[in-house]
């Protein structure tokens, strides 16, 4: 191989390539993330599973055995844990890679250069985040059940739980993408703690929302957290007997939030991508 090679008879390039279909390009961009996600499956398991499972273990097994919490607590708590896994996994699994890909190396540039409107690349990221969030939720259900020895089981409620978890994951992804594309890299870690902690602790994971009427101001605060509607939605689907927010309220609020955050996050992404 030398510089003086005679031109190899290649395909005639001079004819400009026709633009490939948006669907095909979108699928190709998605496929790359799916492949990378597939390779990191065990990472997701650890990343996702650890916190919720420890929470379950401490609140139910440890405190329960000391008689500090009632036996019924695990049933109320597990749906919250499923909801938490869906939202936070999606949030982290879009935010952390994006910070890296938009960082010093601009690895994402190659995908941004695909003949596809930039917004679709952003949507692709949300799709992957949602898939990862749902995967986490689906995995945490049996794992949590194994840990506490029982679980609410109501097949009729599963479709609703799934839809709610899906919306929760999509919202988590959108939050993660907005943060990752607007914050300066140095402040990402701090912000994660600042954002994630209140999402977890005001998200009605540990308690049903209607019972918060004893602390009205806190009830208002939790109502502002989309996490609350994910928790309440999943809990209502699996444990209809426990007081909960009606499913239609959860679905309406979550759909609205998802629409707004999708718009915001795609906009943040595009502005970051094209300056």
């Amino acid at each position: 191989m030398t510089a003086l090679d005679t031109p190899t008879p290649l395909r005639p390039t001079a004819t400009p390539p026709s633009r490939p279909g948006t669907g095909r390009v979108f699928a190709a961009v998605l496929r790359r993330d799916l492949m990378v996600t597939g390779r990191e499956l065990w990472v997701i398991l650890v990343q996702v599973g650890l916190t919720p499972l420890f929470m379950l273990f401490v609140f139910d097994t440890v405190l329960g055995s000391q008689g500090l919490v009632g036996r019924g607590f695990a049933d109320v708590f597990l749906p919250g844990i499923i909801a938490l896994a869906a939202l936070t996994t999606a949030l982290q699994s879009v935010a952390l890679p994006l910070v890296k890909e938009f960082g010093f190396t601009m690895e994402i540039e190659d995908r941004l250069m695909a003949p596809l409107p930039t917004g679709y690349v952003a949507i692709g990221k949300l799709v992957i985040a949602t898939i990862r969030g749902l995967l986490a939720a689906v995995l945490i259900y049996p794992l949590g059940a194994l840990m506490v020895g029982s679980a609410p089981w109501r097949p009729a409620g599963l479709p609703l739980a799934f839809v709610v978890a899906l919306l929760g994951a999509w919202i988590g992804g959108a939050i993660g993408m907005s943060l990752a594309t607007t914050l300066p890299v140095q402040r990402i870690n701090v912000t994660f703690s600042v954002i994630l902690t209140p999402i977890i602790w005001t998200g009605c994971i540990h308690y049903p929302w209607p019972r918060l009427s004893s602390v009205p101001w806190y009830q208002v605060v939790t109502a502002l957290n989309p996490m609350t509607y994910v928790s309440e939605g999943v809990r209502g689907a699996l444990l209809p007997g426990v007081p909960h927010l009606p499913a239609w309220v959860c679905l309406t609020v979550l759909t609205g939030v998802a629409v707004v955050l999708t718009w915001v996050s795609v906009r943040c992404f595009t502005r970051r991508a094209i300056q």
Partner: protein, 389 residues
């Protein structure tokens, strides 16, 4: 010369870019066009706005004003459609570190709608062309800068773009890799691909590019073929003779005798160089492009297929030792040596014979011959000044 037919595939018209929170335009009213099968060089000092221009043309930056069209598509209006026609090799390494080198090529092709089977075939072929097959499936972090650069160029070619943008493609590369890259670019030109490249290695690039635009502070200072730029701005050709006059011969008389040869505008004595090239004071038209046999040989290799026969012939003469009659004299540490610079109106090669005849008649030994030609870098310095940015 390459075929340059058809309408321009890159049209830049009064392009302006001002970054947010700055008070000057990074690109300030730039206009040029590039034809299919043309290699267009965009040269300029650091911060001149080259990368910004490439960024706008490749849809990664939004222009503040003006128009940029690639293959008939306005990059501001329909960036996604424009991306189907172009490829870019950026100044920094932006390879996908989650993928292997081979996957980088395959996935890139699929992002552009190439089917997977075909993408694999193209990746294999390009890896081979760029000498990367052996390391195609290793981790990308293990790649050296030069390998990464080759891989990025290969990646840019997987979807067979009509226009290729290269931002400093030979930066920090060894001579072998540079030769490989220049050779590949020539092949692309043969196939009708338009190429826009920025570089600081302009003397080297001058042998490849068809036209050069020199920019500074976001403005176009000049735009022409390298030959015309060199001829028009820096003046005439030079022939530098290092000789050892016969004992008793007057150096000034020798110089004057050479100056009377037809075709010589001026003959002057210059300092015998200790450093072969570069270290010449005073700027002006005094650049020596092909220095000695080595430099000219490299030049001849680069100019493969129609460059400058004069330089090649001289290099051959020097290489064959025909001019090395002063070998003995050189042994005396260069004492009594004289360097005479002839400013010529025409081809230095035609004057070499008469000059040697004059010298032989006066029993002077020729120690070295340099074809001095003002280089593109001299033009560049003349236009943009000597101050670093």
């Amino acid at each position: 010369m390459p075929s340059r037919d058809g309408p321009a595939v890159v049209e830049v018209d009064d392009l302006v870019k001002r970054y947010p929170r700055t008070d000057t335009n990074a690109v300030d009213g730039l206009s040029f066009t590039v034809a299919p099968g043309e290699i267009f060089g965009l040269f300029g000092p650091n911060g001149a706005g080259k990368s910004t221009t490439v960024g706008i043309l490749t849809t990664r930056l939004r222009a503040t004003g003006g128009r940029a069209v690639v293959c008939g598509v306005d990059v501001g209006r329909d960036p996604a459609a424009a991306r189907a026609h172009l490829a870019v090799v950026p100044q920094h390494n932006n390879l996908d570190r989650a993928l292997t080198p081979r996957q980088n090529l395959v996935y890139h092709a699929t992002y552009h709608g190439v089917r997977r089977r075909e993408a694999h075939a193209r990746a294999a072929e390009l890896l081979d062309r760029f000498g990367l097959t052996e390391r195609a499936d290793r981790r990308i972090e293990a790649y050296s800068g030069g390998m990464a650069q080759r891989l990025m160029i290969a990646r840019a070619l997987t979807h067979e773009p009509a226009v290729l943008f290269l931002d400093e493609p030979t930066n920090a590369l060894d001579p072998q890799t540079r030769l490989l890259i220049w050779g590949q670019l020539r092949q692309l030109r043969e196939r009708g691909v338009a190429i826009v490249l920025t570089t600081h290695a302009m003397n080297e690039a001058a042998r490849v590019v068809d036209r050069v635009g020199i920019v500074d502070h976001g403005r176009l200072l000049t735009l022409d073929t390298p030959t015309a730029l060199v001829r028009g701005l820096a003046g005439d050709a030079l022939l530098d003779l290092t000789v050892t006059p016969a004992g008793g011969d007057d150096p000034d008389a020798l110089c004057a005798a050479l100056g009377e040869l037809p075709g010589v505008r001026k003959a002057e004595r210059v300092a015998t160089p200790t450093v072969p090239a570069g270290g010449r004071p005073g700027g002006g038209a005094a650049g020596l492009a092909g220095v000695g046999a080595g430099g000219a040989g490299m030049l001849a290799a680069l100019a493969a297929g129609g460059g400058r026969p004069g330089a090649g012939r001289l290099a051959a003469l020097a290489g064959a030792g025909l001019l090395g009659r002063g070998g003995g004299a050189a042994g005396n540490g260069g004492r009594g040596r004289l360097r005479i610079r002839l400013h010529l109106a025409g081809d230095p090669a035609t004057l070499l014979g008469p000059a040697v005849t004059v010298l032989t008649a006066r029993s002077a030994a020729v120690n070295a011959v340099d074809v001095g030609e003002p280089s593109l870098e001299d033009v560049f310095i003349e236009l943009t000044g000597r101050q670093p940015r």
